[in-house]
Symmetry: C2
Subunit: 668 residues, 2 copies
């Protein structure tokens, strides 16, 4: 109860949950419900009410005494007398439960991570599974392994908590033996509440849905390994060490959850669902963002055959990006001068579990920030671009996702995702080919799929009187007076008046902006603004009648705008696991709220359509995407003019021609 | 004549021109044409004939004696008895001129860089200019400056070599005083051959073309300075040094123009027009690219008023990216362990001028290359991504462009451009606003414009039997048997049979591929291929009747495919300066060549539509774009599996919490 990584002297409304809060809240609820047994699914901070936070921030800005907003903890759980999911809101300040909601049957929380090993054991030792394994006639030295999978949805009457087990074989006992290389053709389904065996699914392995090859003996095959210990590719020569050091220390300061760096000030929160959350971002003393967060990620598969049509993970709603975050290691995940942040999740018994070093913060050099050479005399001005990177990596079964929030010295924010890890593989008949996937080896293929990310941008551009608009750059019509040569072009701005969804169009250079219409840029006379640089990508490919789309309407359009409302954080809604339909952006925008130039929220959906390459196996070289938020008439001139010039005396670069030298000889 | 940075022991067909070659070829021509006076515009390597190079490469691969292809030098010049531009091809091996072409009147070479200071002086001291300056009544401490500008085109009968001088005021004598901050309203036009004054253009400064305010006295205004010495923003605190070192040296080897690094082997050439050119790229012993180069960059302005309609620079064809390249400096332009390459250009007298350190080569860390954690036991495999960066920076009057070719360990190629420097500014009446540009200060605005880049991709995917195709990912139709749940999706491939142009479409995930149909991937059975990851951007906005489009047809479509032909290197044609129409991609594709699965060339046009922000002034934070070429079924599995794991023992990262330590204490 005493472990907490947030010193109480710098408590803010944005602090992640503490070990103590988990313990106190869960104990209170257990006591209150005693003798019923409570099984927790989520215990986390319940987002502080924005109106209270704004009051707090405004008082703080005026150096007034600013009491913290009410601190709430949400507890999502089931209790032993009911199959219904429950959610209670615990008021930390008063030590009491303020509200409890009981959800209808069929509403599922994210999966119970602590139950996973138990369920794997259940599946692997169940007679029905053993019967199938026996038919395979597996020789010594090979072991059957299972990956429990989110069940997805294909039946609107189903209310049980189902879990589908995909089965594999691993060779040997190495902890990283690649079972994904040898998928099997049977797949048990269990009820994860009652622990009852529900059904054996057999997997199709040819061009049609036929499963007639599912119960044949296994043909021994060599796995394609990814571990450096196991594969036969050896290790390539010649990669010399590259050391990033900051002999005078880092340029950022961390005080509790508050980070200051190069004109930036922000708070880094963390939730078990979203991972790192950036709050209260300001640059050079002016507010830019209230909250910037990863909102959802759905991964639907394009294999049309049952049961694969149900493969549609919601990695945030079904599992939790934060809860799945890796403990990061110096020199491996993070290079240079690193600050780690830790957080907590709750066990299903209500005990705090340390999520150790799940966020790393460091600086990196990113080439030139600006340069100009006067061609008359060769005189040059240049500064290098330094970035502050706030990064997490999460493992969601087979896949890894790296999320980095990257700030730079020019008031720009970049959000970068990288997908890596291992493809979710399926069995295929030897010599067969299917048009919706890629063969990776004998009996092995990976289906086409998509990764559809949603990020939530809750702006505060010079305050909350914010307006969303989009601008298109259009050619002027040829005209003998106004455009006699046919070369003129201008930009047309359209203000978004009501909540809704919007398309991108790179051919029109359509760009979304967040402006504060009440504050004009002194130089241009136009409202101060930030703009979203959002690449266009393919949206969800499933048809509108599919459960995939009904559950993830957010993934059908790249841009969404809503009117801010407490509790509306997750693009596909709060509960996605086995959901029949979304309760997120589609529903919220259907209110057609008037935005009234106040407190809009901008959401961006982008995707990777991933038709696997053989190069993506057995471990995938990162595939990335990113977007940016940059000032656009927010400042009167380049806000990075004051970045000092780059000097060799500090940077100590060396010529590659020089004899390799030791670090202690590098100083000038 | 003795300076040359290419040791003759490692001569290759890809070597840039040597000082000796410039001298020998120019002397030969001067002697031959004596007593005529020759004024050179370009002396550079004339691209070796591809058929000969292929023969050479194939012999070398078999370790056979491989004579170098014929070495040609091209000389572009005018001679004192003719106004016509001349081009001679000098055969270095035989020491003779093989051919000479005389171009029609009106065909202009790129500008004579050596003449620029002379022309500036001519303009600034001409009575017509002095008369205008006098009217301005400029107080002491201010000086009139001029930027000579490419004249552009608006008259199909014009054959003189015209040059337009845009006039500015700088304050004080600092070599970086920012004259772009104070544009003036008159603009003399001269004939750069005869040195005759042609015309005084007066600049419009309001919403229409009226120039009635052009001759009023100047209102003194403070310039907005960019130099660290001059602006009043000071230098921000707190940026601590970041040192990148490679204590055991760089991982790459350079031998003449040949670079080997992490499985890659390639040659780096350099031309005065294109800057760095990558040749003969192979990875893990298999050929991928024959030649990869920057082909053209046009920058048309969207201000409809005369004379701005003529502002359309072709930075490669009109000036030369290589000829304008900066001499790069350790710790400033380049960080870490750096290898520099130098090259030469010719003076207008035919003497070699050293282009010192115009290419830098270095490694950088780029985060994770791959990672997977086995969620059952926490065992993780990960490697970091190292990149090899081949970078140049060129100053084209006001703008700087940074081009980086970036290779990584997974056989991937990224090409990144960054635009920085200073906006091309124009005068505006105090208090006025125009819809085609952005006010940057009193009397100062910058017009909307575009930067339209073309890169030329001359592939050699496992040889030259290459085919270009594009793939679209499409949803399968719902069907009770084949797609009963409406979730299936596949990819449809269309082979490009004939030369032509093509659109991108991110909504269809349209992706262009270069394949070798005669070689099948052993795992998938499909032809081996590389794919182009090419973001979609806005094409040229001017109308099809404008000279801007006629001169740069390449800028109207993102993807072009041609059949390889010697000499077809530049997207808008060889001579762009004052061109009436292009002689490049538009003309070549009109041949409608059958591609015949052999030796196609792929061209990619992308753009930045730049509606200036006040934040882009007085010096612009880099704005970037990039594209990639990645293996797609070229390898049987991840070709980077053999990259060693990342180890803290080598990477020596530190905790930011630890007291700042000195570098010599960093070793473990």
């Amino acid at each position: 109860m005493t472990i907490s990584n947030i010193p109480s002297s710098v408590k803010t409304p944005f602090d992640p949950i503490t070990a103590e809060e988990i313990t106190v809240a869960s104990s209170f609820l257990k006591k209150k419900l005693s003798p019923l047994v409570v099984q927790f699914r989520v215990i986390d901070v319940d987002e502080p009410r924005k109106a209270q936070v704004i009051e707090y921030l405004e008082k703080k800005k005026l150096n007034k005494d600013a009491p913290l907003p009410t601190r709430y903890v949400k507890l999502i759980y089931v209790k032993s007398d009911s199959p219904h999911l429950q959610k209670s809101i615990y008021n930390v300040d008063t030590g009491s439960i303020e509200s409890t909601v009981e959800f209808p049957l069929g509403v599922k929380s994210s999966v119970d991570l602590d139950a996973m090993p138990v369920l794997e054991e259940l599946c692997l030792t169940h007679p029905k599974t053993l019967e199938e394994i026996k038919l395979l006639q597996i020789p010594d030295g090979y072991t059957v392994v299972t990956d429990p999978w989110i069940y997805g949805t294909d039946d609107s009457t189903e209310t049980r908590s189902l879990i589908q087990f995909y089965m594999y074989i691993r060779k040997g006992e190495h902890p990283e033996a690649n079972h994904y290389s040898i998928p099997l053709k049977f797949s048990p389904v269990f009820d994860s509440d009652s622990l009852e065996f529900v059904r054996m699914d057999y997997l199709p392995s040819g061009i049609d849905s036929s499963t007639d090859k599912a119960r044949l003996p296994w043909t021994v095959v060599e796995p394609i390994e990814y571990s450096h210990d196991l594969h036969k590719d050896g290790v390539r020569d010649g990669l010399k060490p590259l050391v990033v050091s900051q002999p005078e220390g880092a340029s950022f300061e961390v005080n509790g959850t508050e980070i200051t760096w190069q004109g930036w000030s922000l708070n880094v929160g963390f939730t078990v669902r979203e991972g790192p959350v950036l709050y209260n971002l300001s640059f050079k003393g002016r507010s830019i963002m209230y909250r910037l967060s990863f909102s959802e990620l759905t991964v639907p598969y394009g294999d049309p055959r049952a049961p694969y049509h149900r493969k549609q993970a919601f990695d945030l709603g079904d599992v939790g990006y934060g809860a799945s975050a890796n403990s990061l290691k110096l020199g491996c995940d993070c290079l240079g001068h690193i600050k780690y942040l830790s957080s907590y999740r709750s066990s299903n018994k209500g005990e705090p579990i340390l999520l150790d070093s799940v966020v790393c913060i460091h600086e990196q050099d990113s080439g030139l920030l600006f340069k100009h050479t006067n061609f008359r005399n060769g005189a040059a001005t240049l500064s290098r671009r330094r970035q502050l990177v706030i990064q997490s990596i999460a493992t969601l079964a087979n896949y890894e996702y790296i999320i980095a929030f990257i700030l730079n010295q020019a008031g720009e924010i970049e959000v970068e995702i990288r997908a890596t890890g291992i493809l979710s593989t399926m069995p295929i008949d030897y010599g067969s080919k299917v048009p919706w996937g890629t063969t990776l080896g004998p009996g092995l293929f990976a289906a086409n799929h998509q990764h559809l990310f949603s990020f939530r941008i809750d702006p505060a551009v010079d305050g909350f009187n914010n307006t969303i608009s989009y601008e298109e750059t259009f050619p002027m019509k040829r005209d003998p007076v106004d455009n006699p040569f046919g070369v003129g072009f201008g930009a047309k701005r359209t203000i978004v008046q009501n909540s809704g969804h919007f398309e991108l169009d790179p051919t029109k250079n359509r760009t979304f902006k967040i402006s504060n219409e009440s504050i004009k840029n002194k130089v241009t006379g136009n409202p101060v603004a930030y703009k979203l640089l959002a690449p266009s990508s393919q949206m969800m490919l499933m048809d509108d009648e599919s459960f995939n789309v009904k559950r993830a309407v957010y993934a059908k359009h790249p841009i969404w705008v809503t009117k801010y409302k407490d509790g509306e954080l997750y693009a596909a809604g709060e509960f996605t696991n086995q959901s029949q339909e979304e309760t997120g952006l589609g529903k919220w925008t259907a209110r057609d709220d008037s935005l009234d130039k106040n407190d809009p929220v901008l959401w961006y959906t982008f995707g990777l359509t991933h038709n696997p390459r053989p190069e993506d196996f057995p471990i995938m070289p990162v595939e990335g995407a990113s977007f940016m938020l940059i000032p656009s008439g927010f400042f009167n001139k380049n806000p990075a003019l004051d970045v000092p010039p780059s000097l060799q005396t500090l940077n100590k670069s060396t010529l590659a021609d020089e004899t390799a030298c030791h670090m202690d000889k590098l100083s000038l």
